[in-house]
């Protein structure tokens, strides 16, 4: 038992959990606690206004709340400055921002892994038309990160490494600290897709020494349409703008304009204030529960599921067999059952919500000639009883003998 961790008390904060559902699709979207919902509503009920533009007291309040949120995110990932936190719509936008602003040139090379989400693959593939080469470092057979292959991927032209932190495909967490060290040794910057890590892992951006890190609010109890791009201050300051317009410039004439400083220069147009404020509240909530506790809780549930199903002949687990290497993700296939059908059966029989398909990692599934998988992703509010029901239902599906 994790000391002081009361899952039943946590569940009371989540209105969605009053429904008769077992929500195991957290890697796609987390549920929202009442604290976050109330905080979002607070903006609309009490201080709806523009930040950074108007001088009245409501605008000042919004500005103040946005600053608080930025500080919450900064503290969550232990960034050095709050100006290193750029608010985006999601991880995808954060990576696109970096891809288009870092200043990659013809002939430069980028290293990625073979398990990247489309959001950390397509933005780089798109740059190939500018003469940029994308190098894919292959994983080990058990889908864990292969440092040797990674080392071999570098050339003198490698300018950037963009790697997933915890894979949404199988939950395997990559050794980002080591990857960052090797990248820097080779003179490359490192960008991390932390969409699956930020919600349930203690992340110390300074200790990891990553240059950029993107994650989404909606997977970490925050509102949809919110995300973060972390970037080292000196890098952000020297980067080109991505989307430009209102709030990204300090001044303009008909012929020229003066760029704002980071992070403002990257936050074009009117922002999703209620969302950003809600995201700040989500960070507060996560810190209160404790990310280490959440991580331990997920692992405990994954252990229960893995140990109950790993010996089933018809079950094949995607990723490493050891549950401790797969965080809160149990991605699998049942022999003879289409993954979409399996997910639909779970929904229809016991209201269990799982994800099925390629999980936006089509490249990996294509390479392995698989249609997809069923993915159960666990989070802080899931219970051992839910894990048991899930296991029982999977065993029943196996007994269907299809």
């Amino acid at each position: 038992m994790i000391f002081g961790y009361n899952v039943e008390k946590i569940r009371q904060d989540f209105p969605m959990l009053s429904k008769p559902i077992i929500y195991f699709d957290n890697a796609c979207m987390s549920l929202k606690p009442m604290q976050v919902i109330s905080k979002i509503n607070e903006y609309y009920k009490e201080y709806t206004a523009c930040a950074g533009r108007s001088a009245h007291r409501l605008a000042s309040r919004v500005e103040e709340e946005i600053d608080k949120s930025r500080n919450e995110v900064k503290s969550l990932i232990n960034a050095r400055h709050s100006s290193e936190i750029v608010f985006t719509r999601n991880t995808t936008e954060g990576i696109n921002l970096a891809a288009n602003s870092i200043g990659l040139n013809n002939g430069d090379e980028i290293v990625i892994s073979d398990k990247e989400h489309n959001s950390n693959l397509i933005p780089w593939l798109k740059l190939r038309k500018n003469g940029i080469k994308v190098v894919v470092a292959e994983s080990n057979k058990d889908n864990t990160f292969n440092l040797e292959n990674f080392r071999k991927s570098f050339t003198s032209k490698t300018k950037l490494v963009s790697i997933v932190f915890t894979s949404n495909l199988d939950g395997a967490t990559n050794p980002v600290k080591e990857i960052a060290r090797i990248s820097h040794q080779n003179g490359a910057l490192i960008m991390v897709d932390a969409a699956q890590s930020a919600p349930s892992m203690e992340i110390d951006a300074r200790k990891l020494d990553v240059d950029f890190m993107a994650f989404s609010g909606h997977k970490m109890l925050g509102p949809t349409g919110t995300g973060v791009l972390y970037g080292k201050k000196e890098l952000l300051e020297n980067m080109e703008q991505f989307i430009v317009g209102g709030e990204t410039v300090a001044d303009s004439t008909y012929n020229n304009y003066k760029m704002e400083e980071a992070p403002m220069k990257f936050e074009a147009g009117l922002q999703d204030y209620s969302g950003i404020i809600g995201l700040g509240e989500a960070c507060r909530y996560l810190k209160k529960i404790g990310l280490r506790n959440i991580s331990e809780h997920e692992k405990k549930l994954n252990k229960a599921i893995t140990e109950s199903l790993i010996r089933e002949e018809k079950i094949s687990i995607i990723g490493p067999a050891e549950h401790e290497k797969r965080a809160g993700i149990f991605s699998f296939n049942i022999d003879g059952v289409d993954p979409h059908n399996a997910a639909k059966i779970l929904d229809a029989s016991k209201n269990i919500m799982t994800r099925s398909g390629a999980h936006c990692v089509h490249s990996w599934f294509n390479k392995h000639n698989l249609k997809g998988s069923v993915r159960a992703s666990l989070y802080l509010y899931n219970t051992e009883e839910e894990a048991k029901i899930f296991v029982d239902e999977i065993k029943k599906i196996i007994k269907m003998e299809v």
């Binding site: 289409d338 979409h340 059908n341 399996a342 997910a343 639909k344 059966i345 779970l346 929904d347 229809a348 029989s349 016991k350 239902e393 029943k396 599906i397 007994k399 269907m400 003998e401 299809v402």
Partner: protein
């Protein structure tokens, strides 16, 4: 694909009210079109439904779920056959209702969902065995005719003066005779319904009125006074129609036309009549106070012959 055929009309109707079903309709339509043009249907509607059904069955037992999952194609074909059969029966019912006022045709008095109160098919019935050897009724020269004597077609009506449904059919028959003036006439044959008060006596009275040449007037007035029919009412009708009441009452008292009344009822029984009103247009039978369109459909067919 099978499910797409099945789903298309259902979703199309539901789609009028809901965007969700509109999307499913388009999906089913696309699948049907692709199949018809010998291309692969990529809709996962079949799979989704299969899994949802198996999931529901899994609540009871894995074996049941497996059975549904493995035999889904057979199940969907069976559903399609049932659906097509129901659609055919439903359409036939709607066609019959439109044409004959009853889902099962002009001679049926059973339940029709399009006429839930059964207003087109109610009859005053007698308890009688179904006739196997039908002898179709015919117009008799010594019985009175309503409408043109020289008409090509005669409707034979088996009715009862005390029957509310025979009364209900009266304005419809009048409309028919007016519409087909000169082409169609009517011979009303009294069909005795024992459970109806004055059924027999009013039948005798009509024949007695005919004796004095006042049949049509008497016939019309009896229906007008039907709700209060009694000996006294019949006398008042006789008065109003200018009958010689002494002769009229004597005729009734002596049951002078008993054999005619009995013969009419017997003719009805031989023709398979089990209640009033029942109409015959040649060999076509209409049971109950069916709407004008029912008579029109059959008369038009018979006049063409």
């Amino acid at each position: 694909m099978v499910l797409c055929i099945l789903a298309l009309p259902i979703f199309a109707v539901l789609g009028i009210f809901s965007l969700k079903y509109r999307k499913l309709t388009l999906e089913a339509l696309d699948c049907l079109f692709k199949t018809a043009t010998l291309r692969k249907c990529r809709s996962s509607l079949d799979d989704r439904t299969k899994a949802a059904m198996a999931g529901k069955a899994l609540k009871f037992s894995p074996k049941a779920a497996g059975l549904v999952y493995r035999n889904y194609k057979i199940i969907s074909w069976l559903l399609l056959i049932i659906f097509l059969w129901s659609a055919y029966e439903g359409s036939l019912g709607a066609y019959n209702y439109y044409k004959y006022g009853n889902c099962n045709g002009p001679s049926d008095t059973g339940l029709c969902l399009l006429d839930p109160t059964g207003s087109n098919s109610k009859i005053s019935a007698i308890d009688i065995d179904t006739q196997t050897n039908i002898v179709y009724p015919f117009a008799e020269k010594d019985d009175p005719i309503i409408g043109s004597e020289s008409a090509k077609l005669t409707i034979i009506e088996f009715g009862c003066y005390a029957c509310p449904y025979t009364k209900k059919a009266e304005p419809i028959i009048k409309e028919v005779l007016e519409h087909y003036q000169g082409k169609v006439n009517l011979q009303f044959k009294t069909f005795y319904i024992p459970s109806h008060h004055m059924s027999y006596k009013s039948a005798l009275a009509a024949d007695c009125a005919n004796e004095q040449g006042k049949y049509k007037e008497f016939h019309n007035l009896v229906f007008q006074w039907q709700d209060n029919i009694s000996d006294d009412t019949i006398n008042r009708i006789a008065d109003n129609t200018g009958l010689d009441t002494k002769k009229f009452n004597d005729c009734i008292a002596k049951e002078r036309y008993k054999s005619e009344v009995d013969a009419d009822t017997l003719m009805g029984v031989h023709a398979g009549v089990s209640g009033t009103p029942t109409f015959f247009i040649n060999k076509q039978k209409i049971v109950g106070p069916k709407p004008f369109r029912t008579f029109k459909s059959i008369i038009d067919e018979e006049l063409k012959k």
